[in-house]
């Protein structure tokens, strides 16, 4: 041992400790990912031997208007899954930061409930709520004299995607709220006192104290909800099956459709790789921005 070596065990030993984790990660995450990427380079029906096609499947994703539209729909869903819930969550957190609500735990549990229910159940339930004839939504609108607003929610080419998106908002806002209310409690009371001393109103207080204090929580919520939006499948599969026409088709649904139904495993794998890459880039971006803001 020379004097230059760092103290303690040699560094190489550390890799031995990492090995079990690496093996599991490699086996269940890395290997399937690489395998999918490999499959995406073939034209393969899942049964007969595949044919090497290079980047043809990726070219098809870009040139196929139907697939381009599916990716577009996924980004619309991001607005509903991520932006909406975070706005609602912030509003609730801000309200809770100003006053101590009685029975807060009960209140919070109730609001968190949508997040706990299995998505399939959520989808079946909302399909019933959106039913144009006997559904709860249209019935309620008619009951309070707003029958003119009753819509063909899931059956209309313009409304179907926002309608599905709203289900996502309903599912995700509980997560954002729990993250934010927990975060708010971490903000020192002295900051609020100081702000109030300086004459800040509720709005100013929110932007000067609550919002900056929740930066990390917002980054986490944004990451989780965006991932959910980009890979959303269950809601679409149960409510509209991509219809009417292809107005609600999303990439994850196309993956399922092509891999398991129409026998086009190559493009399915290529779409899957694209979703993974998109999620990777977006989460990296979100975290970079959050860190840079924190450094300022």
């Amino acid at each position: 041992m020379t004097a230059l070596a760092p103290p303690g065990e040699p560094r190489r030993v550390a890799y031995v400790y990492l090995l079990p984790g690496l093996v599991i990660f490699g086996l269940f995450v890395l290997a399937p990912l690489v395998h999918s990427a490999w499959l995406s380079l073939f034209t393969w029906d899942g049964v007969t031997p595949g044919e090497w096609s290079g980047l043809e499947n990726y070219r098809a994703i870009v040139s196929d208007p139907q697939l381009r539209a599916a990716f577009g729909h996924a980004f619309v869903l991001v607005a509903f899954y991520a932006v909406g819930p975070i706005a609602i969550g912030l509003l609730l957190a801000a309200a809770m930061s100003r006053s101590r609500v009685r029975g807060l735990t009960l209140f919070r549990t109730a609001l968190f409930l949508p997040q706990v229910i299995a998505l399939v159940v959520v989808a079946v339930m909302w399909r019933m709520i959106y039913d144009p004839e006997g559904g709860l939504l249209n019935e309620s609108l008619r009951a309070i004299g707003l029958g003119g607003l009753a819509q063909n929610w899931l059956g209309s080419f313009t409304l179907a995607l926002p309608s599905v998106g709203l289900i996502g908002t309903w599912v995700m806002y509980g997560l954002a709220m729990v993250l934010f209310t927990a975060g708010v409690q971490k903000i020192p009371q002295s900051l609020y006192d100081a702000a109030r001393m300086d004459g800040a109103g509720p709005v100013r207080e929110f932007f000067a104290v609550t919002l900056p204090g929740l930066r990390n929580e917002i980054a986490v919520a944004l990451t989780l909800t965006t991932i959910q939006a980009l890979r959303s499948f269950d809601l679409i599969y149960i409510t509209t099956r991509g219809g009417p026409g292809d107005s609600t088709s999303v990439p994850a649904f196309e993956v399922y459709n092509r891999a398991f139904r129409s026998g086009d495993v190559g493009t399915a794998a290529a779409i899957g790789v694209c979703i993974a890459a998109m999620i990777f880039v977006l989460t990296l971006l979100i975290n970079r921005i959050a860190e840079r803001e924190a450094a300022r």
């Binding site: 690489v34 219809g243 129409s262």
Partner: protein, 448 residues
């Protein structure tokens, strides 16, 4: 850093190299299927020794579940040396997992492989199903089913030609897509298509929903369209299109007229309001609650609709545009039972398939509220069942069944159902509709 990056790339390269060409290298599937065609013989199951048959089916709903349970019990008590290992799945689950199961090392012996290019066609192409023609000769299956019904389960051994070639399965039940009606609201069954339209107009004027129809699940529209199409387009043209046997394709005057008629009905309000947002089941359930006189549906709803509406429930085939023309209707048969190429007990499997489709089995179908695809000796009791049985007989006698559009290409279920939704919502004019359907179809058919 550099060493680590290198190691990572090394790892990825090793993983990728381990993959090889998906689907294996051996390409001669036709040969495989020829080989499995040999060694097919009618055997005495009782003397076959201890055998376990693994069966994947989707007979999980109401009457279908009842019939298969009874037949499996009967088979096992007749042949105690055979153990049946049944894997029951929903229709959708079966269709999506079958390819992987059949190509894997532990392939089941018997599978229900759905007709058409999406499932059966793919399996045949991969040489994964055993041709059953030798068994058909040995057991006399060619007389048990009509030619049209057997053709639906035929493919050329390379999987390219559909509707002819080798037989890869046989079906237990028949199904017809026709018009269910409520006897309370309909006095006489219409004799022509025009008469039916008059009844729709009258029902509308009386404030009823003429045809209960829900298209949120997408497949309802296919049935609605084809029920009208069969009164405009010749049945052979429909078959040529689905089986890809040439012909004029989809962009024809007849199909355009059918599309115009369907659109006209939608515009006149003959369907459930907001049908594109209404589920298939809620829609026909509205019909059984007396909301309107008709619903166009498959005979698979009979048993459920019967328990809701009782003897008021009736059934007829959509009449032709001229009185007295033989009926033409969308329909076919339940999922065919086939034998996997890898099965080691193929002869016993064939005996099982024969057992669940013979004359006795047909009687079991009747007793469990199913419509047997083959001739039964017993008669059903409910009036609607009698009407359905008569319709089935008429269609088989005059060769009037036309196959489902979604059999046509592996992606046609979505292509076609999506196009019908667009047509009905006015997003596609009838001319653009037939054109776009033809374009989707050509993408596949041109490569055959």
């Amino acid at each position: 850093m550099k060493a680590r990056t290198l190691a990572l790339f090394g790892l990825i390269a090793t993983l990728a190299a381990g993959c090889g060409t998906p689907g294996g290298e051996s390409g001669d599937n036709a040969k495989k299927s020829e080989e499995s065609k040999k060694n097919s013989a009618k055997v005495d199951v009782a003397k076959a020794g201890d055998v376990t048959l693994t069966i994947w089916d989707q007979e999980v709903r109401g009457g279908q579940k009842k019939q298969i349970t009874r037949l499996n019990e009967a088979f096992q008590s007749t042949y105690p040396n055979v153990k049946i290992k049944r894997v029951a799945k929903s229709f959708e689950d079966l269709n999506t997992t079958l390819k992987l199961a059949v190509s894997g090392p532990k392939a089941p012996d018997i599978v229900e492989a759905n007709q058409g290019r999406q499932v059966m066609g793919q399996l045949v192409k991969g040489g994964l199903l055993k041709p059953l023609d030798a068994y058909a000769d040995a057991y006399g299956w060619n007389d048990r089913w009509s030619k049209t019904l057997l053709d639906l389960n035929r493919f050329s051994s390379d999987g390219k030609q559909f509707g002819s070639g080798d037989l890869y399965g046989v079906s237990q039940q028949g199904e017809i897509v026709g018009v269910f009606y409520n006897r309370d609201m309909v006095e006489t069954v219409p004799k022509t298509f025009g008469e039916f339209e008059d009844m729709l107009a009258k029902a509308k004027a009386d404030g009823h929903v003429p045809i209960s129809f829900g298209n949120l699940d997408k497949f309802g529209g296919i049935h609605e369209f084809q029920t009208i199409q069969n009164q405009f387009t010749h049945k052979e043209d429909v078959r040529d299109f689905v089986f890809a046997r040439g012909g004029d394709g989809f962009d024809t005057i007849e199909n355009r007229s059918a599309a115009e008629k369907l659109k006209e009905w939608a515009d006149k309000g003959y369907f459930t309001p907001n049908f594109n947002g209404t589920g298939y089941d809620p829609a026909w359930q509205q019909f059984t609650k007396g909301k309107g006189p008709f619903t166009i549906a498959g005979t698979w709803i009979t048993s459920d609709a019967l328990s809701a509406l009782g003897d008021e429930l009736g059934f007829f085939l959509m009449p032709g545009r001229e009185a007295g023309t033989p009926p033409v209707s969308l329909g076919g048969e339940s999922l065919p039972w086939g034998i996997t190429a890898k099965s080691k007990n193929a002869d016993v499997a064939a005996a099982y398939i024969d057992f669940i489709t013979n004359a006795k089995a047909a009687d079991v179908q009747v007793e469990t509220d199913n419509l047997p695809a083959t001739q039964a000796t017993t008669e059903p009791s409910a009036p609607v069942q009698k009407e359905i049985f008569a319709a089935w007989k008429a269609l088989n006698d005059t060769d009037g069944l036309t196959p489902y559009m979604d059999y046509a290409t592996p992606t046609f279920y979505d292509d076609f159902s999506g196009a019908v939704q667009k047509l009905l919502a006015g997003k596609l004019e009838p001319t653009a509709f037939t054109k776009s359907v033809q374009e989707d179809y050509a993408k596949f058919a041109d490569k055959l």
